[in-house]
Symmetry: C2
Subunit: 412 residues, 2 copies
């Protein structure tokens, strides 16, 4: 039997939502954006020196020697507890009062988003996201066959007034209200903007009025270089409607795949039940030992210094080089700048020219639930060196100029 | 607002299947079976010396030093490929021809079962399992709101004739046919029995006739001490109906949480899409390095020697000590012996006496989709030392004797 005959036979057996969503665009197309000679502003990766290889290696050694028998066993010993306590303490230091029973550990933040989605979403539910929003979350939400509504942001984050107006209109028209709002309030991926404190209060009121959950995904909040930190939405929550997702991916390293959820115990209980038991106790042990061994806060200060330098260089280079008509966000932290090209420029079409000039980036379309974003782009300043970032922005400016005056360019 | 008011408010928002299944018995009740002074035959854990702490530590060091920049990054470097190639080679050596595109990596076998369940199961689907069956799989299947039908085993594994007869009867009566059969064909958890070769052929025919998938979960197949190895069901599959699940949990260590699926590319593609991106690249790198550094086959021979000693001691002690009326399986490999107590003995009721006498085990009821198994028990010989196992079985025999003649016991 040929492989294609076979898959027709099996196709009937897929779950309804899998069958209904299986022919969508393949996720990960962005991974094909590679130009080895070009400066990559594509990935939201930490810069290599940000990664504590040696200290993590030491932590694994300690776990494998000290916790000997439990280290490679199924259940782990005391370390699942140890890491949960670390999470509880870190949360408290950010104003989020929680107990160990209100923490659910996951294999990174993306896994946390997926577990929350699986626990709460039925096909044809409506959910609300920022437009643009984190592409990894959009991808997961799509798998659940839900209707995704997008709401615009400005320099103070999600436009909560517009969101409120739409909720009221939906209620009046007897249209479905969202079951949850997914938001990255701090240094949003991809725009870099931060939700203002008053809008956080307002969101909580809306969640109560319209009976939805707020999923607060906050991987970047501790990486602030300027300005003052608004309180995490979860810290303001006295209704149990906020499900907070956090991760060590940016404060320690992505490769350790350790994230968590903070939510009411009744929610955490279901997350624990739904989640599949793939908890990596060895890694959790090593992360716990790492947190004991290092000065975590000093480490974050160092990371902030590294990212700040990169952001400054990117913003300076944009100021200096980009042609009139382009605009961009000015994030006070995090990994990303959001760029709007001058009218008439399509970011995806620009990409080959840009790569030729020496830079790659992610076209804005990747970050929308619909087909918006064609003249926008996410520029990541997290990975390249400051000099490379300056070169990359110069290359981007050259490519933009060429695209603005194609005749002139073809005369070269 | 009190926490209980809150959870009422949020309860409405859970997904339908979560709400419908949330009041079931809490999974993990078995974790409470602890009696520190007693010999534990409860857990399917490898014995401590089976765990290669030092070699795993070395492997992490190599990855963190050699693969420097990629080791703690999101995407990993070449090691995701390296470990996939290891899996392809190991599969081929067991007669399973597959390509890298037919392998899907997971965080252990349980995570693989869950991903398969999420990809194929809709609420109210019917699935078939062995009765008894692996409790971790039953627990996950229950989360999907499916109807679970159980089919008995004998010393040659699943009673395929009875299964076939029921399928025919269901078809004739226009009753739902199963979408999948979940089976542990080698040294089944919990019974220790192995599905005979001819029954494997017959199962494949049934899958084709009645249009269902076979989920072959094979964590123990390489741990054979006697007898000859029947071919993995996947190696006989030319229809693409077999989804094979395997793991390094027993051949390396549970703590590395590395399992995989082998299935047709069309299925793997959907598993990759549905799976949440919690792939632990650092661990995968270490496992790949470990497999390069050690003699894997020699390691399995050593493990078999260790487990064989334990099984032999358990079977000898059962022969010597258990009262008439008790019977048990005689596995040729794996981790488990399945015990049937003399008539009238309830395993769960026996547990406190047994613990007092010096042994704990898992009551049979944990392994059934319905309320069967009350006078059965799973005895794990994987974890305790041979001497402890002998002591444990002696304690079990004393407890059984007491339960058989309660008056005499109370006269003591």
């Amino acid at each position: 039997m040929s492989e294609s005959d076979r898959s027709d036979g099996v196709k009937r057996l897929f779950a309804d939502t899998v069958r209904e969503t299986m022919d969508g665009a393949a996720y990960g197309a962005w991974r094909t954006i590679t130009a080895p000679e070009a400066v990559s502003l594509v990935f939201g990766f930490p810069y290599p020196d940000a990664l504590p290889n040696e200290a993590i290696g030491d932590a694994f050694d300690v776990v494998l020697e000290t916790d000997h028998e439990d280290a490679l066993q199924y259940a782990g010993g005391d370390y699942a507890d140890a890491i949960t306590n670390t999470v509880v303490e870190q949360s408290r230091s950010r104003g989020i009062e929680c107990t160990a029973e209100e923490v659910h550990l996951t294999n990174g933040a993306t896994h946390a988003i997926d577990t929350v989605a699986q626990t709460f979403l039925d096909p044809d539910d409506t959910i609300a996201v920022e437009a643009p929003s984190f592409m990894g979350a959009l991808r997961l939400f799509r798998n659940y066959g839900v209707d995704i509504e997008g709401y615009e942001l400005d320099e103070n984050g999600l436009d909560v007034d517009a969101f409120a107006a739409d909720l009221a209109a939906r209620e009046a028209a007897d249209e479905p209200l969202p079951k949850l709002l997914y938001t990255v309030p701090d240094f949003q991926n991809p725009t870099g903007v931060t939700l203002s404190a008053d809008r956080r209060d307002r969101l909580l009121e809306l969640a109560e009025t319209y009976d939805f959950l707020i999923v607060e995904d906050d991987p970047y909040g501790q990486l602030r270089f300027d300005g003052s930190t608004p309180p995490p939405i979860k810290s303001l929550d006295d209704t149990g409607r906020v499900i907070r997702i956090d991760t060590f991916s940016k404060t320690i390293a992505p490769g350790i795949r350790t994230g968590w959820v903070v939510a009411d115990e009744a929610i955490v209980r279901e997350l624990e039940r739904i989640n599949a038991g793939g908890e990596n106790v060895l890694t959790l042990g090593a992360v716990a030992r790492y947190c004991e061994a290092v000065d975590f806060e000093a480490g974050i200060d160092e990371l902030c210094a590294g990212y700040r330098k990169r952001r400054d260089r990117m913003l300076d280079a944009l100021d200096e080089r980009m042609p009139p008509g382009a605009s961009w966000s000015e994030p006070e932290g995090g990994f990303f700048v959001w760029l709007e090209f001058p009218d008439g420029i399509d970011a995806e079409e620009l990409l080959p020219t840009a790569a030729e000039e020496g830079v790659t980036f992610l076209p804005g379309t990747y970050f929308y639930h619909d087909d918006a974003g064609s003249n926008q782009a996410r520029l990541s300043f997290s990975y390249a060196t400051p000099d490379e970032i300056e070169d990359g922005i110069a290359a981007l400016a050259r490519a933009t100029h060429k695209a603005m005056s194609p005749v002139e360019a073809s005369d070269d």
